[in-house]
């Protein structure tokens, strides 16, 4: 097992309570930051740590913080994005469910750094049971003087609230999240203005992922100089990976960024290979929206170099032969799985979750879903493949928010790497209806 910065105490009984969490050294970073550091020093430390946003886009957190506008007399807000709805991603839920105080601790330090006095955790509607866990933990933090007025006698005030969404993937997009939090329909806003200038209630706002905020805790505790020793130059620190699909041992793992993909899939400490001794056929390394990789591009890049679990290595080769680390939703497909069906399933998700504001996404995702459904059910034509590629290109980059891109990439990459499988479905309509491509042909290496 590797090093654990976030999940160190996850197995300690009672770690979800304030008492046990504190005994294990919890809330030290709050003491350190509030008593011995200035807000700017905290921002500087996070910048130095090289922490990149864990929500999917990988934007440097410290840099995002330094963009926050700070006009006099206007409140600012920190919002924690706990909408986690990307298929394959469940690391934030794990962290909040078992270590609620770690998120609260990270939010106190981050709020202090940004000078906000009211912060929110926006949590997806389906995580209502986690909401209860968080509310209980927040009440404990208030009772012990870590939230509320004059925290630890430093004069810093902070209120923290949890607000549930109605169960919409789109509300994970930061401006849709803000709209939803304001009590409106969760439609992404037209940018600019960006939230750093005009966010919640028109005030400067930072939106960060659960894991990003939790990671601030070890960064402050150990110091950025120590933190940067972990990981690679462009991917510092550790990352939670939610591994699922046909793996021998799926689950949430904390890895040092830079671990090899091969080690992560087959290593004894990690996923222990593919279930039932099958072959690995394809991998979606970072949540459903990132490009799917075929067998020969999983453990090696197109150049034959070892592929690592890091921002730069997973994206090596661009969209032609690479993918993305994304949110860390690691989905493995064995030789029995049908890529066409999976692509249809992902697309169905995006069509269902599109907010419907802009035409390319509203119409394009629903159209792709229908075409894929036809192909999967033996009613496709060869022109449909070109049609899908064309619809794809017309969605990508032309939408209000990145949901359009997220819907386009999985289709584009599936056709790029598994074209023959699409063609097979079209040429063998009867068999496509009655049998599974994967079962029939095995891995396409």
């Amino acid at each position: 097992m590797g090093r654990k910065l976030l999940l160190e105490h996850i197995d300690v009984p009672g770690i979800e309570t304030f008492e046990v969490y504190r005994q294990k050294g919890g809330y030290r970073s709050v003491e350190k930051a509030l008593k011995s550091m200035s807000p700017d020093e905290v921002v500087e430390e996070v910048k130095k740590s090289g922490l990149r946003g864990r929500g999917g886009a990988g934007f440097p957190t410290g840099m995002k913080w330094s963009f926050l506008a700070k006009p006099e007399g206007v409140p600012r807000y920190l919002l924690c994005n706990a909408d986690e709805s990307e298929p394959g991603t469940f690391k934030d839920r794990y962290l909040m469910q078992y270590l609620p105080h770690l998120l609260i601790e990270g939010m106190i330090v981050s709020s202090f750094a940004l000078g906000t006095n009211l912060s929110y955790i926006y949590i997806r509607g389906e995580y209502l049971f986690v909401l209860e866990i968080l509310e209980k933990a927040i009440a404990e933090a208030y009772a012990n003087g870590f939230l509320g007025k004059n925290i630890l006698g430093t004069g810093y005030d902070l209120d923290l609230r949890v607000s549930p969404g109605g169960g919409a993937y789109i509300c994970g997009e930061e401006t849709a999240l803000i709209e939803s939090l304001e009590g409106k329909r969760g439609n992404p806003r037209i940018k600019p203005p960006f939230p750093a200038v005009k966010g919640l209630w028109g005030c400067p706002t930072v939106v960060n992922n659960v894991e990003s905020l939790a990671t601030v805790v070890p960064i402050i505790n150990m110091g950025a100089d120590e933190y940067v020793k972990i990981g690679t130059e462009q991917s510092r620190g550790t990352k939670l990976i939610s591994a699922c699909g046909n793996l021998e041992r799926p689950g949430v793992y904390e890895i040092d960024l830079g671990l090899s993909v091969e080690e992560f899939i087959y290593g004894d400490d990690w996923c222990r290979g593919i279930k039932n001794g099958k072959q690995l056929k394809a991998l979606v390394p970072g949540g459903s929206s990132v490009p799917i990789l075929p067998t020969h591009l999983i453990t090696k890049t197109a150049n034959g170099d070892t592929r690592f679990m890091s921002y730069e290595s997973l994206s090596d080769g661009g969209f032609a032969s690479g993918s993305m680390l994304g949110s860390g939703g690691f989905i493995a497909f064995d030789e029995d799985q049908c890529i066409v069906r999976n692509t249809w399933n992902f697309t169905r998700f995006y069509a269902h979750e599109s907010c419907g504001q802009c035409s390319p996404c509203r119409e394009g995702t629903a159209w792709m879903e229908k075409v894929l459904w036809r192909i999967e059910n033996g009613e496709g034509t060869m022109e449909d493949i070109a049609l899908l590629e064309d619809i794809n290109k017309k969605i990508e980059g032309n939408t209000i928010c990145p949901l359009g891109d997220a819907a386009a990439w999985p289709v584009a990459s599936a056709i790029r790497h598994f074209r023959e499988e699409f063609e097979w479905h079209i040429k063998h309509p009867q068999e496509a209806m009655s049998r599974n491509y994967g079962l029939l042909k095995g891995a396409t290496v």
Binding site: S354, G356, E363, L387, K394, N398
Partner: protein, 322 residues
């Protein structure tokens, strides 16, 4: 003032102007089509994506091109910005894509639609669409519903531009009109078909770029190109009373607000000349209006420009067909 170049035309506009409005100051072919933006409605724009343009240089300070096409209605110009609209192949492809998306689920029922002849989707389809459709799937359909006794909603024709939502929000007292559901299931609705009961609700008909919202007092009475639009006014206690009456012989068939060539209600005496429901729906007698004279017809429509003759298969002149 900032300087911006659009399709090679250089102009100076005030800081904070959007690319679309800068182009409108010049007029002509360099103006991108806009199906959702409506200058009189705060917050409108950004949704339909028909106005996408290419920014070949961001500004004088930072002349890098923008990687994606941008919505010209909601992107402000920068000093030294270079924009390509009609002159950009990427824009043409992107816009053709948007047009195809907007038409994918559209019923194409122009022959029985009151909006035909003044429909912006018809124009867009003609300029940027294809003759055939690649959409083989079953179209999404809704039943037409009544919004009160004067307005009909044909959701099948709606392009979800949100203009009527902003209108209901911004000029009527009580909003009961909005969007329900999401994705391709999204639909315009009043709260469980509750009538919008408000003096100004009829203006949603005028802002609708397509035939989704139509005037029940005019439905199926005539094609718009058979009517003569006349500027007219009356003393109205509720609104400015400045409207357009659409006449056939000596009879008024319908009343609308005065709209400019972009389909937007005109500003008269510094105010947007919305008209009230009494003027629109209940004042069809000629003697109640002071008819000022014929209104200049804005020949944006493909029908009033006689463009359709160009699509005659017997006619070899196909230069307008893209």
């Amino acid at each position: 003032m900032v300087k911006v170049t659009i399709d090679g035309v250089e102009i100076e506009v005030e800081e904070g102007t959007t690319i679309l409005n800068a182009a409108r100051q010049v007029g002509g072919d360099i103006v991108p089509p806009a199906m959702c933006y409506y200058s009189k409605l705060e917050g409108s724009g950004g949704k339909c994506r028909t106005c996408l343009v290419e920014v070949a240089a961001g500004s004088e300070k930072d002349p890098r091109p923008m990687p994606k096409l941008v919505a010209s209605c909601s992107t402000q110009v920068q000093h030294g910005m270079i924009v390509k609209n009609a002159s950009s192949e990427r824009v043409k492809t992107g816009r053709a894509g948007v047009t195809e998306f907007l038409l994918a689920n559209h019923p194409l029922d122009c022959p029985i639609c009151d909006q035909a002849g003044e429909c912006h989707l018809q124009d867009l389809g003609f300029e940027h669409g294809k003759e055939a459709t690649r959409y083989r799937e079953e179209r999404r359909t809704f039943d037409p519903i009544d919004i009160g006794d004067k307005i009909k909603l044909h959701m099948n024709r709606c392009i979800l531009c949100y203009r009527c939502v902003y209108t209901a929000n911004q000029i009527t007292d009580q909003r009961v009109h909005g969007v329900m559901h999401r994705g391709s299931h999204a639909e315009i609705s009043t709260y469980i078909e509750k009538a919008i009961d408000n003096d100004f609700s009829g203006n949603v008909i005028d802002v609708c770029p397509v035939g989704a919202l139509t005037d029940k007092t005019f439905r199926f009475k005539s094609r718009v190109w058979f009517l003569k639009p006349m500027d007219a006014h009356r003393d109205c206690p509720t609104c400015s009373g400045k409207a357009v009456v659409w006449m056939f012989g000596n009879e008024i068939y319908r009343v609308t607000a005065r709209k400019d060539k972009y389909g937007e209600i005109e500003t008269i005496d510094g105010k947007t000349a919305w008209i009230c429901n009494t003027c629109r729906f209940e004042t069809k007698e000629v003697d109640k209006w002071n008819v000022e004279g014929p209104r200049l017809i804005n020949r944006h429509s493909v029908i009033s420009q006689n463009h359709y003759t160009l699509q005659n298969p017997l006619n070899n002149n196909t230069k307008n067909i893209q």
